[in-house]
């Protein structure tokens, strides 16, 4: 009698990946282009080094995640909670016309979610921010002022 084929290999492999004990390592490009301002339950909350838009990035601190559906259902729920909380805080702080939320990852594969405050007179409005022009660095003062206001709104 032949051994039965293992059913649903994909799910087993995925489950093994989820259970890995590999430490979480932040992607080098995300590390270079943004700075951590707060560690949430799941995500590292980061502020982008680009003053053209108030631009936050949430990075789930789980090893090997690429797509949102790679996360466990509990982590998916936590990510939703954290991104909604951060989006509402960013709206409150900036008075933005619209908050843009996106998980794209065509360039950097490590799962990360952009939360960006948009205004009708900002660069590339109403087009997307990704791939548009070149970053304009914050001064230490503008970076720290924005960071403080966001952290205050999250309290």
């Amino acid at each position: 009698m032949q051994a039965k084929p293992v059913k649903n290999c994909y799910s087993m492999e995925k489950q093994q990946r989820r259970n890995t004990l590999e430490p979480f390592l932040l992607d080098e490009r995300i590390a270079r282009d943004s700075q951590s301002i707060l560690k949430l339950g799941l995500c590292d909350l980061r502020l982008a080094h680009d003053s053209r838009w108030p631009w936050l990035i949430l990075v789930p601190q789980r090893s090997g995640m690429i797509e949102v559906f790679d996360l466990t259902p509990l982590d998916q729920a936590m990510l939703t909670f954290e991104q909604v909380t951060v989006a509402a805080a960013l709206k409150k702080v900036t008075g933005a016309t619209k908050i843009n939320i996106a998980a794209i990852g065509n360039v950097v594969r490590q799962l990360h979610v952009h939360v960006v405050a948009r205004f009708e007179d900002d660069p590339n409005w109403p087009g997307p921010i990704w791939g548009h022009g070149s970053p304009i660095a914050h001064s230490d003062d503008t970076f720290n002022a924005l960071k403080s206001r966001i952290l205050e709104a999250l309290q």
Copy 2:
């Protein structure tokens, strides 16, 4: 004695908006640019009239919603569940390099979430799809074939 000011007006107003009995009306531009292929628990799942990318749109069927944080927490959880389910199905059907998920809404304010299959040789890769070039309509055959495969993957 003066009447006390109403505390937390914003939340009350938001609650009233959530409880409104106004019927859900689909935005005219979304209606024109895409076609409903399935009604989920919360969202109308729509396939875009643009053959350049396999492009789905989820529209929460709630009146007056603009930002994700306008939804009730239960609807936020449902939206997450539906977008993750749809994203995984789209990945399975297309074998995409990367799934892009985004709630932007700079042009059309009614809350809607894009779920798009991306490939390394597709138009504007690795840049975003929004605001890039002009739509290229599906033929009835390619539209219906993609619709059928997505619906099958969702079963």
